[in-house]
Every structure is written in C-alpha cells, then in structure tokens.
Symmetry: C2
Subunit: 484 residues, 2 copies
C-alpha cells in the first residue's frame, strides 16, 4: 500500500488569493461548496439511527471482540500467507468455508495468476573488519546468489545521488549498501524498489538496503522490488537499520568492509491463486451497482500479516456477516473481496478487474479498501468526482458514534482498488491511527500483538455502516469513468 499525501493544495492556494476572506473561507478548506438536494441530505441523515445500531451491536453488543477472535484464529492456524504458498491456499479454503458458515451468499473464488517466488536460505555476514551476522530478508522476486554465496567488498552510500559519483570501475563486483534515511514510505521505498537495478547498471554484485522503516528493534523488513528491463538481475535484500547505519559509519571512516552474502531465493513459474468472494445480495439490485468492501488475504512470509492485511480482510468479510446477522439487507449488493497476491504486485486486484472489465461501469457502484492498518479508526479517505464527494461527506458525518468523522481526499490507502479509482470510479479507504504502521510493516512484528480487539470492532463497525448506507441509498454514487 502507499502512504498519506499532502492534501488540499488547491484549497490552500485559493486561501492565499483571498486573504481578506480568510476567516470566511476556512470552512471551505474542509468542506467544498456542495449543492446536494435537500431531500438527499435528509435521506442520508435519516440513516443515523441505523448507523447507531450497527455501531452499538458490533462495538458493545453481541459481536464485540469477535473480529479479533476470528483474525487470531486465522493467523494462528495458517501463519504467514505468501502468494504462491500452500498456506495461502489453505487459508483461502478456510475463509471460503467460514463465509459459508456465516450464511453469506454467492460465496466463491475467482482465479488470479500470481508470481511464485520462494525465499530460500539467506545469510549475510560481515567478515571484515570483524565478524557479525547481518540479519536480512531478501526482497520479493529477488534472484539468489551462486551456491556458496559471494564474498565482496562494500560501497555504502546514503542516496542515489551520492552513488552517482561512483564509476563503474569502482562499483564492479562490489556489494552496494544503500542507507537512505527515512523520509516517509513513499519516498524512501524507491531504494527497496529500484536499488538493485541502479547498482547493477554499474556492475555491482548485489545490493543490501536499510529496511524501509522509521523505527527498529533489530528487525529486517522485506517488500517487493522491481528489476528494470534489460538490466542484469542481482540479489537484493534489506538489512536492519542498525546494521546499515553501522556499515555506513565504518565505510565513511575509511574502513574496508567485506560481506559474505548467500541467498537461495528462487523465482518459479506463476501460480494460480484465488480471490475470495462473498455477498450480501441487494434487495433491489443484485449483480449491478455493487458496493465492494475489500482487503488482501495474502501477506509477506515474515510475521503473520495480522496488520497487513489480515485486519482489512477480516473487517471486509465480517462487515457482511454482522449486517446479515442483524437482518440489515440494503438495496444494492455488498460484495466482500479478499484479494490475493497483493504484496507481490496487486495480482489479485488486476486479474479481477480484467475479468470484470467488459461490464464494469454497470457492475460497480463503489469500492472500499482497507490496507493501511486497522488501528483506531478516525474516518474515511475518498476518491471520485465532486458530486460523489459531496454525498460521501454527508455519509461520513454519520460516523459520530465512532468518533470517526475525518474526511480526506483523494484516497491513498487503496492499492488493489486503484485500478478503478484512478479511472474515476468512486472509492474509499480507512483513516486510522496508524502512526506506527511502518514500524511493523513487512516484518516479524506484523502479528496479533499489534491488533486491538476494540479498535478492530470499531473498524468493522465503520466498514459495515458506511458500506450499508452507500449500498442502500436511493441513488447510485455518481462517477465519471475514463476509459484507458
């Protein structure tokens, strides 16, 4: 998933142009001019009682604690769920069984081809000037080293810019260690994604990268990387913040550092995995104007993916379960989709989009996705046209019983739905207190210890309530879809 961006630049610009009106336009920064028909505003406000009921029963009633319980059973039973692994496929079977047991409708899977990358034995050791094991995690799709590994001297740099000064002669055969300081995920992740190809162009033997995290307790973080077409593929892995910084300090003091790196990672033939799907079928519309609630079921192979994205997957599944148990059935179908193969490159979302493309404008009304944590919820991100935005702003105002009325646009936590939202389909993602998200992200720390039962309840309630209102409104969400 991505990270939060600076928003409302245009509104701020407007303010700068109208200084004399500053006090008067302050509200517009938050709430653009909306001209919704009074009837529609009243209709949305009319859902307050239903929202209150949903919240009350999920957070304090008979469903309290059940989302955490279900998530812990899932991750404790199957552990990590890397795309291409047997564990993920077993977890998919388990989810499908569970959705049926919950009485959900049209429960089924849809195939998606995913990469089949296998982490092998991985070891890095600083062998000079002293011996130290360097805990590491190969990056998704990395190639391995030759058998027995490679032993090479180190070049350590803080940035691509600093690396530019090195000549191919200096880089040839070296292990390049990138030690970028944390500058937010979106910016810093470039070293994880592109470091290998940048270094390979100058003849490097391998790259090691400071884990992409603002905080560490000696844990390496993995993640996917992209080999550039036409550039030699070299092994690439993340090491800990602590070791990366130590290597950079020693290198800058003029010490010669040598690393023995052995990685048996392999890329196998693509694997057919499955998106897991269930519905609460609408009273009026069935396979049209569908409201999607989603998260991805696959995870990295370290930690158990309770946070990324077990929580998002579970609230999507259980939102339907709880609405159904409450006897709440909206006009439109709500469809839970638990994507597969997100971590290795949004494969489940892409396959689903392609399979449903011919009729997509008719089929889909709205997309929800949670993939930036399920900590205490604060509101919802939105993406879509101005008209839909105005409707959605009114809906978010209903979330006062959860104290989750924050609204931002555009959405920034929906990688699997970005295929649609980037083309004008309306969508939303979860705003939550996820300041520590990247501390655990793609590491052994992504576990149930991160998930709070009450916060998960609140996320499930927000998800169920918002999806219900969008699905039950008398009008569909307006959209301006661009064809590609």
């Amino acid at each position: 998933m991505g990270t939060r961006r600076i928003k409302w630049v245009l509104s701020l610009l407007l303010l700068a142009l109208l200084p004399e009106a500053f006090a008067g336009v302050l509200d517009n920064r938050i709430d653009p001019v909306c001209d919704l028909p009074d009837g529609l505003v009243r209709e949305i406000q009319g859902y307050q009682k239903t929202v209150n009921d949903i919240v009350s029963r999920i957070v304090d009633g008979e469903f309290a604690g059940k989302t955490w319980q279900s998530l812990s059973e899932l991750v404790d039973t199957f552990g990590a769920r890397l795309a291409g692994s047997e564990q993920l496929e077993k977890a998919i079977d388990y989810v499908i069984d569970g959705m049926k047991r919950d009485g959900l409708e049209n429960v089924h899977t849809e195939n998606a081809s995913v990469p089949h990358w296998v982490r092998g034995y991985e070891s890095a050791q600083l062998v000079a000037p002293f011996k130290k094991n360097l805990p590491l995690l190969g990056l998704g799709t990395t190639v391995g080293t030759p058998r027995g590994g490679i032993i090479a001297d180190v070049i350590a740099v803080e940035s691509f810019k600093e690396f530019e000064a090195f000549t191919p002669d200096q880089v040839k055969g070296k292990i390049v260690v990138f030690v970028p300081p944390w500058q937010g995920y979106g910016k810093t992740v470039a070293y994880r994604s592109h470091g290998a190809s940048v270094a390979a162009k100058k003849g490097a033997a391998a790259t090691l990268i400071r884990s992409i995290t603002p905080f560490s307790i000696g844990s390496p973080h993995t993640g996917v990387q992209d080999y550039e077409d036409g550039v030699r593929k070299i092994p690439t892995a993340c090491i800990t913040v602590e070791d990366a910084e130590m290597i950079l300090r020693k290198y800058r003091r003029g010490e010669t550092l040598t690393i023995h790196l052995e990685m048996e990672d392999r890329n196998l033939e693509p694997f057919i995995s499955r998106n897991s799907i269930a519905e609460l079928v609408g009273t009026t519309y069935t396979n049209t104007s569908v409201v999607v609630v989603s998260g991805h079921l696959d995870s990295w192979d370290v930690g158990v993916g309770a946070m990324d994205d077990g929580g998002g997957a579970l609230i999507s599944w259980k939102a339907l379960t709880y609405l159904k148990a409450m006897g709440l059935r909206p006009r439109r179908t709500i469809r839970a989709i638990l994507w597969t193969g997100e971590e290795l490159g949004l494969w489940g979302g892409q396959a689903y989009r392609e399979a449903h493309q011919a009729n997509e404008k008719e089929e889909f009304n709205f997309f929800f996705e949670s993939d930036i944590g399920t900590f205490e919820p604060e509101g919802l991100d939105f993406s879509g046209n101005k008209e839909a935005e105005c409707i959605f702003r009114e809906i978010v105002k209903l979330m006062t019983p959860l104290n989750a009325t924050q609204f931002e646009t555009p959405t920034d936590g929906g990688p699997d739905i970005s295929h649609w939202t980037s083309r004008g389909f309306p969508g939303a993602s979860l705003i939550n207190k996820n300041e520590k998200y990247f501390w655990f992200h793609h590491s052994a720390g992504d576990s149930m210890a991160v998930e709070d039962p009450r916060h998960l309840d609140k996320c499930a309630a927000l998800w169920a309530a918002a999806a219900y209102v969008v699905a039950d409104l008398s009008v569909p969400m307006p959209k301006d879809v661009r064809d590609v």
Copy 2:
C-alpha cells in the same frame, strides 16, 4: 539494572495524617526538612557559574557531539562485549589506551573473575500443528540441549500461579512456555530468572519464556537467569512476545503443540576480565574521599550495548576527559570505573569492592552510576543518609541549565554500586527519559540508533558537573555505613 519504584510513601502517609495542613506541607513531599548551615548552602550555590561553564562547553562548545562520536567508534569497532569474550578484552585495551591519550591519570585495570558462558547454535521450531521458526535467545548461564536437540510437547501458562495446578506427571518431559504479561521489569523478570528451576522441579525438559519487554517488533531479548541450588539444570531461552502469545492462544484452544529445541550453549571455566579505571587526581585528597563515576563496559552478545551500558561507561570516562581539558581539578579525586561482567551478575563491581574493602570507608566519598540509559537527562536519583541527601538536593538544583533538576530517593539505577549504597555509602544514578529503555534492552535493538548525540552531551555534562561539585566541596559527603 533495576527499575523505578514508588517513592515517598512515608511523606504521603504524613500528608494523610495532616489533611488540614495539605497546602502547607506540599513542598515537604518534594523537599524534606533540611537544616544545612547557611554557609554550606551558599557554598553550593557558588558553584552555579562553574556548572554553567561545564554545561555550555560540553553541550554547545568544543565537546559537543564528541561523546556520541567516541561511543560509536567503540561499538562500531568491537561490537558486542559479552563477559568472557575476546571482544570485551580488546575493548578494555582500547578504552585504557584512550584514557591515556586523553591525559587521564592513574589509568589501569583491576582484575575480576567473570563467568565464561558461550552462546552456541540455538534453534527452536514449532513442528506441530504447523512449522514455524521461533527466534530465540538462550539466557545467560543456560545449559544446552543434548546434540540434535529435543522434541517435546508444550505446556503454556501465563503465570507461576497457573503453573501450580499442573502435576509432575503432566509436566514431565514437556517444554514449559511461560507467557507473563508485562507488569514492569522488576516483576516480570522473575520468569526469566527463575522459570527454568520452577519448571525443572516438576520434571520439565526445557523452558521458553516470553521476552521481558513491553513492546516488540519480533525481536527476542536475552538476560541472565539463576538456577536454584539442588534443582536439575534445564535449557532456558526467551522467544518473541509475538510467538509466545501465539503459542498460549493455540494451547488454550486445546491444540497439541510440539517444539524441536536445540541449544549448544556452554558454561566454561571462569575467566579473568578487568575493570577499567582512570582518575582526575584531586588537588587536596588523592587516594581518599574519592568520588566514583561509573558504568559497565560489558554488554550482552546481541546488539552492541550502546545503551546498556555503553552510554553510561562513556559519560563516566569522558566526564573526566572534559573536566581535565577545561582545567577543572577538584579537591577530591574523581575516579572513572568502567565495570566488567555486570550482565552476568555484577562480577566487576563485586571484585572491586572486595579488593578495596579493608579501607573502603576512608577511600570512598561518593558513588555515581549510570545504567538505566543515557536518554535526555532529567535529574539524579540519590541514596544515603538525611544529611547527605540535603547536600545533594542543593547540588541537583544547580542543574537548571540542563533542565535536569529532578531529585528522587533512593537510587534505583545503580546495580554495580549497590554493594555500597545498600550499606549506607552515598550514591546517585541518572534519571533520564528512558520510557523506551526496555524496548531495546538485551536485544538486537541496543545500538547507536538509540543514542542521540545531544542527549549524550547533556548526560556527560550532568555527570561532569555533579561529580565536580561533590568532589570539590569543602566537606565530604556524610555517611552512616553499616558493616556486614
């Protein structure tokens, strides 16, 4: 080191007895009745300018950043420094050389016998109901398993109390997993210290314990443990919070869990290590009425011991270096002692005390120790008699330029000086913003990333200023020493 206790119970009791005087006695909660001679109070206040100079030159002047630099060179050069290891002895040689280069006086080492425990290959794997590696760290002095390890079923409990219900028949041959919730270090550490013997008494084959930390990113934490005399020694190690909690949940759901545990840890013959010592010799008193500033140089073998206790060791050494360079030489000798063998049981402090016992009342005036982190300093803990406490309170008031005037008693962060302070010698330890101390403690996270250059400067300045004033006062610190 230990943890912070609830203090001033007696003062609070007094308040309860005198409710009508509440407002009037509030100050007494903080400041007990002190009846220092006016002349002494004025004398102490007269050090304000000197304290200001020390702070200004260490924090903002020519010494700014140098403590962090020295610490990073030490830990980057030698890495972890476990008692009994070659690295620790090399680090001691390096420190001794550095103290001489800094122009310190009477630089020498004094021998101390320390345990020689060696971590071998360690591996734990959950083999049923699914396979999962369980990162672990054997506890200091643990025995190993037989070659090839043991495979045994699990009993998982939250507490010793819960374990009481199990019969020896149920425990025999099992691996007992203790999963105590964090209740503060002092309380929770009992499971690390005594878990092995508690379980062995009922015939357990080994124990695995939830790491003693309030927060985790998938990192195990080590530490020392105590085998009870006459009880069979069984292998004992800490696993991560995440894995321990997962095992407890699965066990409570009635699942049968099996672990393959292999540990090649060994206890060798004791080893002669050394305390590292340097002095700034007093103008009036040399080998009498000495003021000791101290921290321990040894560390655990994971992380590099930058926090525990590289920072404490370095500020003790460098306080002397900076005072000397400033031309500040007090009446009494200030002696820096960098203890050895603290982590495996206070061996350096104990050997030093025994060697100096015959003449200790004449030799020592005051003991400083820093072993609870060198984050931003807030003040000083104190231990000693009422008269000394009153003098020390006045000294701590001088630390306003550092915003470090907090005073608490008794001291709680001085394990290596506790041999003396528990018998009535006056002593002090560092109060600092160490709320995250136990996050990194005894783990791979104990690295330079934890240490802030400016905070280290402030700690060094506080250490130098407080030691200088105590050492230069016209009067020695009063003491009531109990013989044992």
